[in-house]
C-alpha cells in the first residue's frame, strides 16, 4: 500500500478552505510576495477570514514583509498559524529563521506535505499561497494538491517587461495543461507618475499573450518608490501609498467577483 498520508491530509485541508488563490510568476523578483501579502491584508480588512501560506521554503519573505515574528504553537488540532494584522500566516521562516535549507525533490515535497498537512487554519474564506519563482518542487506540489479542486484560482504576477513574456508563456501553458483556472494577470511595477506625467519604463504587457490565453490584465500596479522604506519602517505594503492602496482594493474587487456567486 503506497499512500502519501501527509500529502492527502494537506490536500484535504486545502479542499475545506473557501477559496484558494495561488500567486505565481515564473520570474523572480517581480513582486509576488508583496502582492500576496497585500492581497491577503486587503481581503482581511474587508472582513474576510484570510490565511497566507508562504511556500517559498528557501527564501521565505512573507515574515519580513509582515514583520511576523514569533514561534508557532502546536496543539491537538495541529500547528497554529501566526495571527498578524488580522490574517493568519504560516511560513518556514517562522520555523527555521534565516538558516539555509538545502533540500530538493521528494524531500522538499514531503516538507510541504507536512507543513500543509499539520497546519490547522480553522475557518478560512481565502487562502493566499505565495510561491518561489520557477516551476520547481513547490509549484509541482501545489499543482498536484490543487488538481481537481473547484475552489482554486491563480494570479499571475509579472512586470510588463519583454523579458517576462517567455517565462509567463511557459507558466500559462503549464496551467492550461493542468486545467487550473487563471484569474488574471497582475502587472506589477507597471508605471510611475512624475509631475503629472505617466511613465511606463517596462512598456505594456504582451497583448498577444493575453489574447492567446484568453486572459485579462486585471491590475496595473504602480512603481512605489516608498515601498521599501515603508516595509523597513515596520509599515504594511498595501498601505505604502494611496495609489497602491486603491489599486489593491480594485484588485480585490475583481478577484472576489471572479468566482461568481
Amino acid at each position: 500500500m503506497d499512500r502519501d498520508i501527509l500529502f492527502e491530509r494537506g490536500r484535504r485541508n486545502l479542499s475545506r478552505i473557501g477559496r484558494i488563490i495561488t500567486i505565481a510568476a515564473g520570474k523572480g523578483g517581480v513582486g509576488k510576495s508583496v502582492v500576496a501579502a497585500s492581497l491577503a491584508l486587503t481581503l482581511g480588512e474587508r472582513g474576510k477570514n484570510v490565511g497566507l501560506l508562504d511556500l517559498d521554503v528557501h527564501g521565505p519573505s512573507i515574515p519580513d514583509i509582515l514583520h511576523a515574528r514569533g514561534e508557532i504553537v502546536a496543539s491537538k488540532e495541529g500547528l497554529k498559524p501566526l495571527s498578524v494584522h488580522g490574517i493568519k500566516v504560516m511560513s518556514t521562516g517562522m520555523l527555521i529563521g534565516d538558516n539555509p535549507l538545502p533540500t530538493k525533490g521528494e524531500d522538499k515535497r514531503n516538507l510541504i506535505s507536512f507543513l500543509v498537512g499539520l497546519t490547522n487554519w480553522g475557518n478560512l474564506d481565502y487562502l493566499i499561497i505565495d510561491l518561489p519563482p520557477g516551476t520547481g518542487d513547490e509549484t509541482i506540489w501545489v499543482l498536484r494538491a490543487l488538481r481537481g479542486l473547484k475552489n482554486v484560482g491563480v494570479l499571475v504576477v509579472t512586470t510588463p517587461s519583454i523579458l517576462a513574456v517567455s517565462v509567463v508563456r511557459r507558466l500559462l501553458s503549464m496551467l492550461e495543461d493542468e486545467k487550473i483556472r487563471v484569474i488574471g494577470i497582475v502587472e506589477n511595477m507597471a508605471y510611475f507618475n512624475c509631475e503629472g506625467k505617466v511613465y511606463r519604463p517596462f512598456g505594456r504587457f504582451s497583448e498577444e499573450l493575453v489574447r492567446r490565453f484568453k486572459l485579462r490584465v486585471i491590475a496595473s500596479l504602480p512603481i512605489d518608490p516608498s515601498l521599501e522604506q515603508t516595509i523597513y519602517d515596520g509599515g504594511l505594503p498595501h498601505r505604502s501609498s494611496e495609489e497602491l492602496k486603491s489599486a489593491f482594493y480594485r484588485l480585490c474587487d475583481v478577484v472576489e467577483s471572479s468566482w461568481g456567486e
Binding site: 496543539s75 527555521i96 522538499k108 514531503n110
Partner: protein, 145 residues
C-alpha cells in the same frame, strides 16, 4: 501532541482507501514512522483507537514500528545516527506545545527540515541526506472480506 493530527491523517487515508476498494473489514495495519518524529506511541495508539470507532477500521490490529534515522554527508561521506543528531540540535528554534508548555524542535514536527536544523558532525556541511527515519507510512495492511 501532533500525534492526534497524525492519527487523524492515517485513519482518514486508510478509510478512504478501504472504501474505494469496496472492502468491509480490515484485519491488520502496520505503521512505520521515522525516529526523527519522536512520537509518543501511547498517545498515537490511543488516538487511532478512538478515531477508528464506527469506521471500517474498527477492530483492526494496529502495530506501530519505528524506523531508525540515518544521515549521510554528501561532502565528506560521514554517517551518523539520531542520537548524535539530537545532541547537535540547536534550541534557537522551537514550537511550543499546548497545553503541556513543552518546547520542541521543529524537526520533531517536520523531519524534512533536517538540513536547516542540523550540520554534518564531522565537516559542518548541510549538504547531507537523511537516508531514513523521517516520514510516516502504512507499511502493511491485511484486508478481510
Amino acid at each position: 501532541m501532533h500525534e492526534w493530527t497524525l492519527a487523524e491523517a492515517i485513519v482518514e487515508s486508510l478509510n478512504s482507501f478501504v472504501e474505494q476498494n469496496g472492502r468491509k473489514k480490515v484485519l491488520e495495519v502496520e505503521i512505520l514512522y521515522g525516529e526523527m518524529m519522536e512520537l509518543d506511541t501511547d498517545i498515537l495508539s490511543y488516538a487511532i483507537e478512538e478515531l477508528v470507532k464506527g469506521t471500517v477500521l474498527e477492530g483492526a490490529k494496529f502495530s506501530l514500528k519505528e524506523e531508525k534515522a540515518l544521515f549521510k554527508c554528501n561532502a565528506c561521506g560521514a554517517t551518523w545516527d539520531f542520537e548524535t543528531a539530537h545532541k547537535m540540535l540547536s534550541h534557537e528554534f522551537g514550537i511550543l506545545e499546548e497545553p503541556s508548555g513543552a518546547r520542541e524542535s521543529p524537526l520533531h514536527f517536520i523531519p524534512d527540515l533536517a538540513q536547516a536544523l542540523l550540520k554534518c558532525p564531522r565537516c559542518g556541511s548541510r549538504d547531507f541526506e537523511a537516508i531514513s527515519g523521517k516520514g510516516i507510512r502504512v507499511a502493511r495492511m491485511v484486508l478481510g472480506r
